[in-house]
Symmetry: C2
């Protein structure tokens, strides 16, 4: 897949109305046997209260759950919007043909026995999708749990889960069917509701991107949760997701769990970029570019879902805490600061008011400690005063169950406080048993509740990150004027000659065509030329052997640093020829490259590796020996925008080194950004390039530019 410089919006839109909002459903493979999946689906549709017409199809039964059963889909006298297939996998292709004939508008294939079972299944799945494409039929699955739409107008539980979830404003898309059942159960336990619940299965046709497109405009959905194991197309996902999270009129946060984090599988690659780029780093890049919040665990996903589903987005990063216990107040403060929030400093008026209503031993600055014997009245006052302070962007209410704590009444006070403000209010009633009635009350009234201060802070911090995402400056992908044609000629020449590891000389030529800040350099095929070229590039100079066959130049004496004058240049040339020929007698030596030595600056690495699935991935990090030791690098899918380049630089841990510590002048960050953007353009315009390392790029102080000291380019085979 080649990604163009400004990727066209990939038009994937499918009409999913019949899938989510059918007026009639045929369940093919409906069953009377309670242990059968075909029974569970029928039963769920009926007990879930599906509002449309239901038609069981089963040649061996006359009636299923009081409904007339049909021998075949084609026997049903009415039109069918949605067909649900719960049949042996081998019968599916024929049934898809039947669906076409019948005019069905969408299909859910619950049946397993496809790609997941190996070769035979892959073939069968291909047959299905070919047939569906012919019929222009959208298909969910196969090998999935089904789909749920809690909208009262449909009330459709087209799944074989154990539970019909409550109605709510959260949509969930899962690539694991089994996880769905667990998710439904967690949600039930926390009184959380869903708008839509979708099990993706093998994604033979519909992928997360189509579903995101549908959910973007779904008025019942305010938050989207996803569990994914892989994405087929990074860019369409990024485009769709960034539209939903940051650009649409009704922005919606997307919270994702991506599993397979520790995948050991960074394939052997010639470049640093390639070897450092594990698949997980790519997903981190995709989520960063898409504005998607990545949760590390199911529990974190739920914690985040709650606050986004129930509370308005925080408008700043300043938190006020009201607590009846000092220790947990400190814990919450710690957790807030650690996760990037600030503690609000109260206006004088606020502390004065707090002083009036709270007993003398209370702490009237933030975190406000109403002390252990506080009852709901004291909480009420403290919450009201704290939340009214204009320095406060969010309120955290902590309760420990002391002997005199009227837990339920305090829960009511929290609900009232939340209703009175447009700032987020979250609660942390610490405990399980004694606090349970209070917690139930909070959950019923949609106050985000967390059992521990740390989870509470984490959820608020995620909301703050989302705010910063939606408020970020919008920039564009720059297109520099470069000599793309010249680069193309060189790349194609090398490709024709079957040169995969392009020599430094040619690599420099390519970078020069893209106007990277390369130092003066030249080629010399003889001692005489070496003198001439050395004089042209200037001193001190570096000499490097030019030979396609020699990879480790240094080891064979093929690099000479610090050449001070023409005499040394001539001597170095002769010496190098002798030494290298002795050590690598078979290598075909073209000559040497002379280059001006770079002044000392800060070394960074810029890289690109073309991923089979996601296209060119850019890397940025601290250069030299540190790139490997610290693995202090960051990735983005190309093309990057201006802001993306800026953020890549800021994302590495060593950023303070570049910004300048101890009063040092900052590095020329603008020049690094520009180089990253040029690299992005180069990668996008020349799909034959497989890998690029610019290592090091020597960066000088602000406005003093940078120099490409060394570079390697690897072409596709």
């Amino acid at each position: 897949m080649s990604v163009t410089l400004t990727p066209e919006r990939v038009r994937l839109t499918k009409d999913l109305t019949a899938l989510f909002e059918p007026k009639s459903i045929a369940v093919i493979g409906a069953s009377r046997r309670p242990e059968a999946v075909g029974y569970a689906v029928m039963k769920n549709l009926i007990s879930g209260g599906f509002t449309g017409n239901l038609y069981p199809v089963n040649p061996k039964a006359d009636t299923i759950e009081n409904l007339k059963s049909y021998a075949s889909l084609l026997d049903i006298p009415d039109t069918i919007d949605l067909a649900i297939l719960v049949v042996p996998s081998t019968t599916v292709p024929q049934l898809i043909r039947d669906c076409g004939q019948k005019g069905v508008k969408a299909v859910i294939i619950i049946s397993a026995g496809f790609r997941e079972i190996g070769e035979a299944g892959v073939a069968l799945e291909k047959e299905v999708i070919d047939e569906a494409n012919r019929q222009n039929l959208p298909i969910l699955g196969p090998n999935c749990l089904g789909l749920i739409n809690t909208d009262d107008n449909f009330s459709m539980n087209a799944s074989f889960g154990r539970t019909m979830p409550k109605r709510g404003n959260i949509a969930f898309i899962s690539q694991s069917g089994a996880l769905c059942t667990a998710i439904l159960d967690y949600a039930k336990g926390q009184n959380m509701g869903f708008s839509k619940f979708i099990s993706l299965g093998n994604k033979c046709d519909l992928s997360e991107v189509h579903l995101l497109q549908y959910l973007k405009d779904d008025p019942h959905t305010d938050v989207i949760l996803m569990y994914i194991e892989d994405l087929q197309d990074g860019w369409t996902f990024i485009q769709e997701a960034r539209e939903i999270t940051g650009d649409a009129k009704n922005k919606k946060p997307i919270i994702t769990i991506k599993s397979g984090r520790t995948q050991q599988g960074a394939k052997a690659a010639a470049s640093h970029t390639g070897s450092l780029m594990g698949s997980d780093a790519v997903y981190d890049a995709i989520f960063a570019q898409a504005g998607v919040l990545r949760a590390d665990s199911v529990s974190e996903m739920f914690d985040l879902a709650k606050i986004f589903a129930y509370e308005p987005v925080i408008q700043g990063d300043c938190v006020a805490i009201v607590t009846n216990a000092g220790g947990p107040g400190i814990m919450a403060t710690d957790a807030c600061i650690r996760s990037g929030l600030s503690m609000a400093s109260f206006h004088k008026n606020t502390t004065e008011q707090l002083k009036k209503v709270l007993p003398p031993a209370s702490n009237i600055s933030n975190p406000v400690d109403v002390i252990g014997d506080a009852r709901n009245d004291r909480y009420r006052d403290a919450m009201r005063i704290a939340i009214s302070d204009s320095n406060v962007d969010a309120l955290v209410v902590i309760l420990t169950p002391q002997a005199m704590t009227d837990i339920e009444d305090i829960a009511k006070a929290v609900v009232d406080a939340e209703r009175s403000t447009n700032k987020p209010v979250v609660a942390c009633f610490m405990g399980i048993s004694d606090v349970s009635k209070g917690v139930d009350y909070l959950e019923e009234h949609h106050i985000p509740h967390y059992p521990f201060p740390e989870d509470t802070a984490r959820a608020l911090a995620a909301m703050n990150r989302y705010r910063l995402w939606t408020k970020r400056p919008r920039t564009r992908v720059k297109k520099f004027k470069v000599d793309s044609e010249k680069a193309k000629r060189m790349i194609e020449y090398a490709h024709r000659e079957k040169i995969t590891h392009v020599g430094t000389y040619l690599a420099m030529d390519i970078l020069k065509a893209y106007k990277f800040p390369v130092l003066p350099y030249g080629f010399a095929g003889s001692g005489k030329e070496a003198i001439k070229v050395a004089r042209q590039v200037g001193f001190p100079a570096v000499m490097k052997i030019v030979s396609e066959e020699i990879v480790h130049k240094f080891d064979v004496g093929g690099i000479r640093l610090n050449i001070q004058n023409v005499k040394e240049a001539k001597k170095a040339y002769d010496h190098m020829m002798r030494t290298v020929k002795k050590k690598e007698p078979k290598a075909h030596i073209k000559g040497v490259m002379l280059q001006k030595m770079a002044d000392k600056g800060r070394e960074v690495i810029l890289g690109m590796n073309r991923d089979q699935q996601f296209g060119p991935i850019l890397m940025f990090g601290l250069g030299g020996v540190y790139v490997e030791a610290f693995k202090d690098v960051t990735f983005r899918l190309a093309p990057i925008r201006e802001l993306g380049a800026e953020r890549m630089i800021k994302a590495i841990r060593a950023y303070p080194l570049l910004k300048g510590i101890r009063g040092e002048a900052p590095a020329d960050l603008k020049m690094i950004e520009e180089c990253l953007e040029r690299l992005s353009q180069l990668a996008c315009e020349h799909p034959l390039i497989q890998e690029i390392d610019i290592n090091p790029l020597m960066v000088y102080s602000d406005k003093s530019g940078a120099h490409v000291v060394d570079a390697r380019i690897v072409l596709k085979k």
Copy 2:
């Protein structure tokens, strides 16, 4: 506080028998008013079923809860082991005197109104502790929730908490009373029990160290939990804790939450070591040296407590997973690898057996997927086979509630599997509501249960870290033969002269006396001497100005590098004198120091900062500009043992750089270790030294040693 080289075991032992195991208790300030704390304490003692005699003391009541009330402690006709004070704070000193007179053996002061309220309280608390010391009375509190001992022989709830916890093998020590009530409630909700439950309060007399000493030998306690906000004495804590966690006959894990992590308060300090040493870094060092597991949150503390309380310690790091769902299996695998565990690779025999008992679509390698329709028989078989594999050190059982999952029967199967093996077995039944009965069964039968795969892995990983701690090699604090007397003379001279920032020359002399690998150096007071000294130290050489008044030598032209011969040395001397005198006309210039220039190696920093509370703290990290940018440093309290020095080096992120990457030779790690140990000795033997920075120590390849390039020493004022 000066710490000697091998700190004497601090004898703090107090006899706490009467505190934990009293035969008779007087509650002074017992009350009939239900809202009074003095009522709650009485009520808890009675309803908790205290097995000894109870005596309420209240001059205003005749009877409290059917017990005769006494006007004064002294009126009680019998002997009293333990007195509990729930009275206005000002009356406490007199009551302590009464306790002495009465022969009371231990006191709990629940009353607040001491140090926590400011100056007046501090004075009152001092009066109390002076009196108690005279009486040799151990005191718990003041300002605490009380103490609980669930041992059937005492069954004592001497607290005003809401709940009497179940009996169990976990002890909890808390510096926050309010947190105690939350902890009791979490524990109740998870069916967890405690052996002892102790609220420390203000720690006027008894600190966590005394309680650890008691719990060490308590046969009812297998795991110790602590919530602490500060430690008064790092070394006594380290000694006591490392004895319990790693050396005692009955080793017990200690799990700690330390709050105040983000304390902004690293005070301004002259050295790198000082400025990088936040209080939290010191606590991390203390816990590392004590073998204490630090939990980041209350929830993590509980997760860890459960596995240690219920399961045998893991004997290796290889985990097997049995799951009925692929997605959660991947999530658990990810979490295991990320937290430092490995996935067990099964013996051939194991997979063969699994193949026999599981359906064809199952995954018979690790993680074992028994597929969604698995019932308890399939789980039973898979667990039995997996846990019998000698490559497996622990078993994780994951369940998602599918339609046909018989959750409770699977819970029973897990309990049976756990009973059949001496390897840890932990469960993760995903969900809340549907799985609740199964989870209850697991909790009743003491199977550690976690709602999410990530928590499950984290608990197992902590257990693995604890195993590694108990199995670590035991080393000693080395004592090098050095010229300590000479160092002492120099330090005392400088201190007498009120020199706090010792010049490089003197610093080198001190380090030389401790046989650090310093390069040849010498002092020159004239151009002639410069020639002589330069010849002695060798070329290339460095020249540095010697003047107490000049701190930033480089800025005033007081440093000259790369002096190649005697002629250059003379010239450099003359030039430096002129330049420096011009720029710093008022400075008193003694002359210059000449030193051989170090060869290029890997730069590290070694440092020491003497903490008021914890004594000398050692630092190690990557040197040069990176020390500040990456803050890649680690700390230990001095003195360190051999293993401690080794672990400091391994603890930094840049360790791979020192070990050698890309086939590079490793650095001379042994020499770094030795330097750290010498630094430890220097710091311990000379309490007048406030700070030391050896920056950089230039380290060469293995067995090639290292050189101190620059050093600064700051003395106490």
